[in-house]
Amino acid sequence: MTIGVTNRDDVLNAVDSAMERYGASRDELIPILNYLNHALGYLPAEALEEVSRRMRVPKSQLFSVASFYRMFSTKPRGRHVVQFCESAPCHVVGGRQVWQALQEALNLKSGETSPDGKWSLVTTSCLGVCGVGPVILIDDDIYGNVAPDQLTDILARYA
């Protein structure tokens, strides 16, 4: 995951590589937005405008798609996104304590980004690894059987 960029050149470069990879056709929109969201950390308005121009799809439709899916963010996110599984199977095996500890450790509430731009904290729908709950996902790394006292060690791995 990269830093929340708003540099116009970076945005255009990312759109270029997304278009090159998937082609400018409408049915590739979600793969393209997935790519941009991953490359830029979120979907800046400039990126959506550029995609709209190249794909010849109205901006309104692009924004409506971008705001529909949970994994797309139209607001800048931290360098590392911590996702906590809020589903019942994780909840009943101690997820509530982990969630509490996570919010305290990061000093963030759900959906917030830290002022230094390092962390974003969000909840996620079931990740399907219920056998090893509670589960948290940091960027692309998944952690299972998480106990509150392990959080400091886990978070320390991220610079």
């Binding site: 409408r26 590739e28 937005l33 899916y69 079931c126 990740l127 219920c130 056998g131």
Partner: protein, 593 residues
């Protein structure tokens, strides 16, 4: 070709060679010649067998015995014991650290594995492993010996019904798309398994992806589809990766793409990753999402079989449905139909969670009773508490009480009892569960996942949640139960898709079976299961409390007062009902009421 009774594979990996694998091999061959066994036992060099950490090692088939840590001097004894006397030599068998699969253990009593048969057994990233387990044999049979009509007849005869929840006959669905006279046609696979706690499909995609691909290619042949999509949720990155590897390997062998197996039939497919929207598991929403739009459902008819992806005829089934297909073709419709009940054939995978001893994945024949699932397969309730209910069918399913323990698990019985098959989530609840709180939990999930397109689902389910939240806070009012019943009825009747229509189910079923609990919350301001925080209070029993002060010291809000060696008191107005005092008390003096 010469036949041998036994085959020995000697690991010739650099690491084993370094440890003297060739000396072991020479000694083994000398000894076999000396014993006159060289015509009966074949010795081959092979690549890495195990970890090589304890090499040199050999593998002996057909027994599948792995001998490790061998020296040339061990060979005479090994040959005499194993190949002459037919006894395995325990001292050369290293006990590898037993690997515990927390999701899928060895089959338990009453389990029958059809869809999960290869999971954990084969290497999902190696197509040859799948082919060795009769993989793509069904496809070859279909393409070379059967007409599409005949395959459809076979699938109809097997009684296979859609495993995504609704349970429509898979064969009939295919024939609906087949008869539409329009091209191109599309095939989609619903791998958007979003029910919390349900991960059956993920396991199949990660453990046996080719079974899904093979089922899809067979379905494409029947429907006449030229292109397919697996719509996989983005929360499953490993499944997406495994599928992509499987597709590449199948293409490389001519099992996907142009002119499959030289029969002139062409079909190709790709994986489409979702972006986090539960409603995309609904087939019309899934189609919209593949088209690059908001994943919103649309009214049916027209059904996707007539107007699906890009308004072309489209067949959509879920992962488990497709994964069943190759086995049905290979073993026959009558074999499949011999399992299950009259109208619900075959097996079904479930993910059991909650207060049961063995949680994880299971696959059982349909028609098994809930009691058998909970007590025989699931091992019974944790900590030997009492059974209260089972929530079956995912967040839109229903809660069934103890009186339905002997209900057979099939599509019709579950529906008539107020639950549904769903995709296969199964949450077992013990007698310390509050059913109003459970209904509130599921409504919280579904109203959050509503796509917002139709009013009954967007607004109605929100209203239900608000009422339930009020009841759990002790602010229930006379008339709430009637309002809930009315709302449920209207939302079920008027919502656009399965999500809205199913969302009130947890409320409907708990109102039906646990009405007393609602009444206790509303009229007596009491939570019988002692779960709803606003409706319980903690008290310290006078003659039991020793005045040790441990509760007062641990209370986060200083709600407990009292002198040392005297009975302590909890101030109910300050108390936040966290329950810490109850946990820390060594004398069980804290009571909840």
């Amino acid at each position: 070709m010469k036949y041998y009774r036994s085959h020995v594979l000697v690991c010739a990996d650099p690491e084993c060679l370094h440890k003297g694998a060739h000396d072991v091999l020479d000694s083994l061959q000398d000894e076999l010649v000396a014993q006159g066994l060289n015509d009966e036992v074949q010795v081959l060099e092979t690549s890495r067998l195990g970890g090589c950490s304890n090499g040199p090692e050999i593998m002996v088939y057909p027994e599948g015995v792995n001998y490790t840590g061998l020296t040339p001097d061990d060979m005479p004894y090994l040959v005499e014991e194993h190949f002459l006397k037919g006894r395995t030599v325990q001292k050369f068998i290293t006990q590898t650290a037993s690997f515990v699969d927390e999701e899928l253990g060895a089959p338990k009593a009453k389990e029958v594995r059809v869809v999960l048969r290869n999971c954990g057994k084969i290497d999902p990233e190696n197509i040859e492993d799948y082919i060795a387990e009769d993989g793509y044999l069904a496809l070859a049979k279909v393409l070379t010996e059967m007409t599409p009509e005949k395959v459809i007849d076979e699938i109809i005869a097997s009684g296979l019904r859609g495993r995504g929840g609704a349970g429509f006959s898979a064969g009939k669905k295919w024939s609906l798309a087949r008869v539409v006279n329009e091209t191109p046609k599309y095939l989609t696979c619903n791998a958007d398994e979003g029910d919390p706690g349900a991960f059956m499909n993920r396991r199949v995609l990660e453990g046996d992806p080719h079974s899904v691909l093979e089922g899809m290619i067979i379905a494409a042949y029947c429907v006449g589809a030229s292109r397919g999509y697996v719509y996989c949720r983005a929360e499953y990155p490993i499944a997406v990766r495994t599928l992509n590897i499987a597709i590449q390997q199948a293409r490389a062998l001519g099992l996907l793409g142009e002119n499959i197996l030289g029969t002139g039939f062409s079909f190709d497919l790709e994986v489409r990753k979702g972006a986090g929207a539960f409603v995309c598991g609904e087939e019309t929403a899934l189609i919209a999402s593949i088209e690059g739009k908001r994943g919103e459902p649309r009214p049916r008819p027209p059904f996707p079989a007539q107007k699906g992806l890009w308004n072309k005829p489209t067949n959509n089934n879920n992962v488990e449905t497709y994964a069943n297909v190759p086995q049905i073709i290979l073993k026959g419709a009558s074999w499949y139909a011999s399992m299950g009940t009259e109208l619900s054939k075959g097996t079904k995978t479930f993910a059991i969670a909650g207060d049961v001893k063995n949680t994880g994945l299971i696959e059982v024949p349909l028609g098994i009773t809930i009691r058998e699932i909970v007590y025989d397969v699931g091992g019974g309730i944790k900590d030997d508490k009492g059974f209260k209910a089972v929530q079956i069918g995912g967040p839109m399913g229903g809660c069934l009480p103890a009186q339905h323990l002997d209900l057979p698990v099939d599509y019709a019985s579950l529906l008539s009892a107020g639950a549904m098959m769903g995709s296969g989530g199964l949450v077992v609840m013990d007698d310390e569960t509050c059913m109003v709180d459970i209904a509130r939990y599921f409504m919280d999930f579904t109203q959050d996942e509503s796509c917002g397109k139709c009013t009954p689902c967007r607004v109605g389910n929100r209203r239900i949640l608000e009422i339930l939240e009020r009841i759990c806070k002790g602010q229930g009012r006379d008339g709430d139960i009637e309002t809930l019943e009315y709302l449920c009825q209207e939302i079920i009747a008027t919502s656009l898709c399965g999500l809205g229509q199913g969302a009130p189910n947890p409320v409907v079923s708990t109102l039906k079976y646990f009405l007393d609990e609602y009444k206790a919350h509303i009229y007596e301001k009491r939570c019988p299961a002692k779960v709803c925080k606003a409706l319980i209070r903690y008290d310290i029993e006078e003659n039991v409390c020793t005045g040790c002060t441990v509760c007062a010291r641990n209370c986060p809000v200083n709600a407990i007062t009292g002198e040392r060696r005297k009975t302590h008191v909890i101030d109910p107005d300050t108390c936040i009902r966290c329950g810490i005092c109850m946990q820390v008390c060594n004398f069980n003096a804290v009571l909840v009421s």
